[in-house]
């Protein structure tokens, strides 16, 4: 939109709802989400029971002594979920671990969320995150700088790296009409290949070693601890606020949402679709790059080819669960961080595979997205909660 846009477009013109109305409008969503989690846990419980050898052996004489089998099943399920809860919120360390896992998920998830709001399906958080991690790590372990500045420069480098990787997608999409799904999928692989290649170079390896593993970043380029968690957590929260402001209070955000809601109408109104695509992919990459920086600057983790793990894909699920809003994305990331953190404890304590948490994550998102199913399962009546704008098609 040209600079002379009328002021009423600057922010959404809806009047602010009162606190009560706000709570009422949120209630169904909260209830559906909680019920979805319960339903997912119930299905997870079933999986735990039927796949546990001990329980199964007791079910072999189920008809002779049904109590024994049921009791064993309940005990196993309770043990597993207790370990899951304990590992995610049971202690200060557990909560810190949950939050620290949630931080990069928040940032990368916000990137996916932003792209969704413009109608782009950004599967490329993985590649953008890798690009960011590479840049942040390189600055972190090679450059020599004063403490605070070093961290800032390293994180900025990560954000720029991610922004470039994401911006390429926006540019190609705007210029050539190539589909962003293809571009982002392919660029994920390209980023991973480049990372693997870099790790074979001496510049990226621990001196005197031949392992595909970088040195850890200097201690002065690490996020300092603050109230028990590394300060990257606060950066993640701050970025959620910034994204919220951008989407709902700024002109640029208004234009982005307009493009996402109806590109043809937006074009007619004089909004440049190409500009929106490029800008949103730059920002999405920037946020994913920030997530990458948190991966290498958060702890003493070296750069390896597994640095991104499945973060980039989890970010998509987080964004979907967050229903396209920054606050939802933060909450979804915390839930996923908790499942991830607790899942490790669960695996260590009870031997239940970590994949159980992946299943739970999938089920929760699925049920939240299908409120009719959840309402049917629990026989509750609610009016339909409004659906957020997401990428609805191939565009």
């Amino acid at each position: 939109m040209p600079e002379s846009s009328p002021p009423e477009h600057r922010a959404s013109t809806r009047s602010r709802p009162s606190a009560v109305a706000l709570a009422q409008s949120w209630l169904p969503t909260v209830r559906i989400t909680i019920l979805s989690i319960v339903l997912a846990l119930l299905i997870g419980a079933l999986l735990i029971a039927v796949s546990n050898d001990d329980v199964l052996s007791k079910f072999e004489y189920f008809f002779a002594d049904p109590g024994d089998g049921l009791w064993a099943a309940i005990e196993t399920i309770a043990d597993t979920y207790w370990a899951l809860l304990n590992g995610s919120f049971g202690s200060g360390a557990a909560i810190a671990s949950t939050l620290e896992r949630a931080a990069p998920l928040t940032c990368a998830g916000l990137g996916v969320t932003l792209a969704f709001r413009v109608g782009l399906f950004n599967i490329g958080a993985q590649g953008q995150l890798i690009a960011g991690a590479v840049c942040a790590a390189y600055v972190g372990f090679t450059w020599d700088m004063p403490p605070a500045l070093h961290l800032v420069v390293a994180v900025l480098a990560g954000m720029i790296g991610g922004a470039i990787w994401g911006g390429v997608v926006g540019l190609l999409k705007a210029q050539t009409g190539a589909h962003e799904v293809i571009l982002t999928i392919m660029l994920n692989y390209v980023a991973l290949s480049i990372l693997r290649w870099l790790l074979t170079l001496e510049a990226f390896q621990v001196p005197g070693s031949n392992d595909p593993k970088s040195p850890v970043v200097d201690s002065d380029a690490r996020f300092p601890d603050l109230l028990g968690v590394h300060s990257g957590v606060y950066v993640a929260l701050l970025s959620a606020v910034v994204v919220w402001w951008l989407l709902s209070r700024s002109t640029v955000g208004f234009e982005m949402r307009a493009v996402g809601a109806n590109p043809d109408a937006a074009r007619t109104a004089g909004i440049s679709i190409a500009k929106a695509y490029i800008l949103v992919m730059l920002l999405a990459g920037l946020l994913a790059g920030l997530a990458g920086a948190q991966q290498v600057n958060g702890h003493e983790d070296p750069l390896t080819d597994g640095i991104a793990g499945s973060l980039g894909f989890d970010a998509i699920t987080v964004a979907l669960l967050g229903r396209g809003t920054p606050s939802g994305t933060v909450l979804a990331a915390i839930l996923f961080g908790a499942l991830d953190s607790g899942g490790r404890q669960m695996q260590a304590a009870t031997g239940t595979p970590l994949d159980l948490t992946t299943i739970l994550q999938a089920l929760i998102v699925l049920f939240v997205a299908a409120p009719a199913l959840v309402r049917g399962a629990f026989r509750v009546r609610d009016r339909e909660a409004g659906d957020a704008v997401l990428a609805k098609g191939w565009g």
Binding site: G177, H179, L183, I194, L360, L366, A372, L390, K392, G393
Partner: protein, 444 residues
């Protein structure tokens, strides 16, 4: 790029060149230009010596067939081909008014043909450079990539066809990767229990259909955003197969997860055809099923009443409903039919190639199949060719790895880069999905 502008003249009607058209022209010409420059550089770097292409490896019945040509000579030929294509495409707008036929070079089949020609010339020139200057007394010949190409392409084509079935009916299928994973897992488990890879295939199909049923249930019955369901089903399939695999104790692995592998069948007569026979007609059942799947899917979608209705539902469900087509039923059928193909594609990763299921056995190829579907413009035949293209480049990078001229890690990204160049550079234009793709349908 002054040539792109149309010269105003009084007598001839002025052709209007849109900015998009001009950008495309600049893009195509610069890509071809870069390709020609790279080839020139490779030609300079190509060491003297022969380049041997082993079109057919020696076997019990047949001798090896080698094609040998001087390396620099071949590289020069390739460079000339690329240069001629570049010149033709670059000069097309200027010549368009004088010689009408030249305009065809810019678009349509002729352009595609030229682009493929230039691409092949580039690849051959590249191979000549990579294979030249080997520090061996007997330089390695380049082996025929056809068999490997087909093997890479088989699951991709099957997955992309599955996607075409769903999306032609208006259901976006991002869950192809998930269908691959469950297909691979259950093909392995059922193949092991029944001790038959063919029953394994049936198991894989069943699993693909089952995941398809979940996709249909949530997108059609519960009208959940299709992309949400697709992504979630991939996560769900990854988690479930990983979880179940971990729950198989080590000592039970041989009872549950070590299936027999499909054996190779030689088509009598055809497999003896020199050069291509061995590669195309001495494969396992799954590859033959893939050959069959392409025309079958095309016939189903474009030559039957069922297919016409499916496509109508994907383009304009309201209109289809008005004339009495049952929209939801057709969508269910199409998604389940797609599941058969995707499940087979998944089975390739266990009973079709390596045997036992490993975590993430399909390694993201379901997403490549999705890309092939879009590249092939939601058409089974187009998707097949896109899958072949990807398979070919994957096989090439795989073969070139042993020469170690380029770091393996960098070579690994060529299939993905090639896809980006093809999609963003040469094909361009907006691929148009079915009009109602991803739209839920609710009766008023």
């Amino acid at each position: 790029m002054g040539t792109a502008t149309v010269i105003e003249s009084a007598e001839a009607p002025v052709a209007v060149v849109s900015p998009a058209e001009r950008r495309r022209y600049i893009r195509v010409v610069s890509i071809l230009g870069v390709a020609a420059l790279l080839q020139l550089w490779m030609l300079v770097e190509t060491a003297d010596g022969d380049f041997t292409f082993r079109a057919q490896a020696a076997s019990a019945e047949q001798d090896a067939i080698d094609l040998t040509l001087g390396g620099p000579m071949l590289a020069t030929i390739c460079l000339v081909i690329t240069a001629v294509v570049l010149a033709l495409v670059a000069a097309a707008p200027a010549l368009r008014r004088r010689i009408g036929a030249v305009a065809a070079v810019q678009r349509g089949p002729l352009f595609v043909g030229l682009a493929i020609l230039a691409g092949l010339a580039f690849i051959v020139g590249f191979c000549v450079w990579v294979y030249s200057g080997q520090a061996r007394t007997e330089p390695l010949p380049m082996t025929n990539p056809l068999a490997g190409t087909l093997e890479f392409a088989t699951p991709l084509a099957l997955g992309a066809i599955a996607g075409a079935m769903c999306e032609r009916a208006g259901v976006i299928n991002i869950a192809i990767e998930g269908q691959f994973l469950v297909g691979a897992f259950f093909a392995s488990v059922i193949g092991t229990i029944a001790w038959s890879p063919y029953l394994g295939l049936v198991g894989g199909m069943g699993a693909g259909v089952a995941l398809g049923a979940l996709l249909a249930l949530f997108t059609i019955r519960y009208m959940v955003n299709h992309i949400v369901v697709g992504v979630v089903l991939v996560v769900f399939a990854t988690g479930t197969t990983g979880f179940l695999l971990d729950q198989i104790p080590d000592d039970k692995n041989s009872d549950l997860n070590s299936p027999p592998i499909l054996e190779t069948w030689e088509v009598p007569g055809l497999s003896d055809v020199p050069v291509i026979g061995e590669a195309v007609f001495a494969q396992n059942l799954l590859v033959y099923l893939m050959y069959a799947a392409v025309p079958v899917a095309w016939f189903l979608l474009f030559r039957t009443r069922w297919g016409l209705r499916v496509r109508a539902v994907g383009e304009h469900p309201r209109a289809a409903d008005t004339v009495g087509i049952r929209v939801r039923a057709r969508r269910w059928q199409a998604v389940l039919a797609g599941g058969v193909f995707a499940g087979l594609g998944g089975a390739y990763y266990t009973v079709g190639s390596t045997g036992a299921f490993d975590k993430d056995a399909s390694n993201g190829t379901g997403f490549i199949a999705l890309a092939a579907l879009i590249m092939g413009r939601w058409h089974p035949v187009g998707a097949f060719f896109a899958a072949l293209f990807f398979g070919f480049v994957s096989q090439m990078q795989f073969q070139l790895q042993i020469l170690q001229k380029i770091p393996t890690e960098l070579l690994g990204m060529t299939p993905y880069l090639a896809t980006i160049v093809a999609v963003a550079g040469l094909i361009g234009g907006r691929a148009k999905p079915p009009a109602a793709d991803g739209q839920p349908y609710e009766k008023d």
